[in-house]
Symmetry: C2
Subunit: 359 residues, 2 copies
């Protein structure tokens, strides 16, 4: 078996050590004689899985007892609706920054539920940059932003100032990729399938004081954050296998030295690949503004579409997977999340040089 070089945008590469551990214990979890997929979520063995994973999410982020970790189904897309459904009360206005794709979808749900103000947008330049000027409304229910745009290859390299409003962030595609002051956030959510696990579970980190901001009324049970916080993510059967893998990834991050070490690796990888773009005399053109370039999703174009197709095909022959850009923007995209190795990225950079010299 030879492992491919995995540049998929998501679901994406997982640490090999995590996969090997999951494989080893797939038929007999911790000596119980059943798979981790076959045991009650309320068994002592699984309770240890979920509570350890919850604690380690907060440990990685440097957060304390004033936060709760939830593992929810329905993906980040369900969070787009849950946030305004819970927090957009009469008399308040939801504030959003629109950096395309996912933030646009989040805004769409908010508008169905109440007054919504898009206080900044990079739509004017095809979402190729991160807007820096905005003013949060004095009656803002929250400020929502998307920290990394998987499709456009843009990323925030600062934390927006939400003033007195709670700061809410969709971190799906750069969650746990770098050190930050995570205590500035009131609610963080992330589909696991980019940086921290397989698809099927959204990690939600919520500051407890947000619960008092949930609107009155008889909310639908599964859409109410209180339901999940009160029952420790066990109101209903959680996505047990996906969250078990997230737990293994948390241990992998901690063993690597936490987010400081992870960030260093991610910076090195980004330097290698953006270096290959910037030192190509314009053969490769990055599509994101320099100061907004994503260290997770590197989007670039070649001189023409025929060459782009050729490069993607030749890359696939070399077992470099997932380099085709999102269908809505074209070009190439190399996703280099936490679990993608520097070796894989260096191999891609070498191939880029070689391809340029031959074409």
């Amino acid at each position: 078996m030879s492992r491919a070089l995995n540049f998929y945008a998501g679901p994406a590469a997982l640490p090999l050590e995590v996969l090997e551990e999951a494989q080893k214990e797939l038929l007999d979890f911790h000596g119980d004689g059943v798979s981790v997929m076959e045991m009650s979520h309320r068994s002592k063995t699984f309770d240890e899985v979920i509570t350890t994973a919850q604690a380690n999410v907060k440990k990685v982020l440097g957060l304390g007892d004033d936060y709760e970790t939830l593992f929810l189904g329905g993906g980040a897309s369900t969070q787009f609706a849950m946030i305004p459904y819970n927090f957009l009360k009469e008399g308040l206005v939801a504030n959003y920054i629109d950096t395309g794709s996912w933030s646009t979808n989040a805004i769409k749900e908010s508008k169905k539920l109440g007054e919504t103000n898009v206080i900044a947008s990079s739509a004017d330049k095809d979402f190729s940059y991160i807007p820096k000027d905005f003013k949060v409304d004095s009656n803002a229910a929250y400020l929502h932003y998307t920290s990394n745009n998987t499709i456009r290859g843009t990323q925030y390299h600062f934390i927006p100032d939400a003033g007195n409003a709670p700061l809410v962030c969709d971190m799906s595609s750069d969650f746990m990729s770098k050190e930050m002051d995570y205590s500035k956030f009131s609610l963080i959510y992330a589909g696991a399938q980019k940086n921290v696990g397989p698809s099927g579970v959204a990690v939600v980190v919520i500051k407890k004081d947000m619960l008092s901001r949930i609107r009155e009324g008889d909310l639908l049970t599964m859409l109410n954050y209180n339901t999940h916080v009160n029952k420790n993510s066990m109101f209903n059967t959680p996505p047990c296998f996906p969250l078990y893998i997230v737990g293994l990834v948390m241990k992998w991050i901690l063993n690597k030295g936490g987010l400081k070490a992870i960030e260093k690796m991610n910076d090195e990888k980004a330097n290698v690949i953006y270096g290959a773009i910037d030192n190509s005399d314009g053969y490769y053109r990055g599509t994101a503004a320099q100061d907004s370039r994503s260290k997770m999703n590197v989007t670039f174009r070649l001189p023409n579409e025929d060459l782009e197709k050729k490069m993607i095909a030749e890359a696939a022959e070399r077992k470099m997977l997932g380099l085709k850009g999102h269908r809505s923007v074209g070009g190439l995209r190399a996703s280099i999340y936490n679990a993608t190795s520097l070796d894989a990225v260096s191999a891609l950079a070498d191939f880029m040089k070689e391809f340029k010299s031959k074409n």
Copy 2:
């Protein structure tokens, strides 16, 4: 490694062959050099996984092109809300039969969303039986029932007549356990974690003509069945690993000979264990009415609670897992879903005889 005898109520036993196949290909799926967890849900390889699984769900149930299979996150509990959210229009009334626990929760969500009529209930006898007399409202949006109650150990052994109203069923805990005329249903849903897979995915089988019954208005995207049908369950990233396992279980069912063969095995298992109860001179007492006994979850009591505790503890020493009854009802419960073998059930019946003779 010795496998335990798995009587968990859910997540529950999976076929050993399915686990072994998943284990074997966990690091390299179909020669792609990545795990099935690590590939884009839009890759050619994964597309084959999902479309085959969708087709096989319908094949097992004997359904044709007038039905769609969806794989959704959020569990059956999210379906409790989605059904009235989509179909309970102004002027119509949702009809429910209350057999406890899950149906009670489904009714709760419906009442938040519109006029709801509980047309039959077995609450009068502690949900120990399946009500047979009811009249569906002429303006019913649908008739909803729960085909098996995991906690009370009751099960429908007939399909309720919904008249002209669409028939909607939560089959979570007896899905694909027997032959039936599934074309009588307009919508079937099931959390996978009892009979057909791990937790984290709900299988929804919806008749296409139901889409025209969805109410007008700007529904929340993820709660709208149209969203998922229009995009073939790929509007957002689906729970890829759980649905991949469901796909393997579908192949296992078809290889066994389909639902006819599965039903025969389930009947044999149920006969063995109810035989052990009925031939115990009253030492073991089944809690469900005879004609409503579940072939999936066998609930029973011993002469006193001390003996119940002792039996559960001694069973655990013999690696018989999950025999403790649900905390809300006490006693013992043996869940004997599709993947629990006749050998496991016979071992339990033997142990019941032995325990009785010693205590």
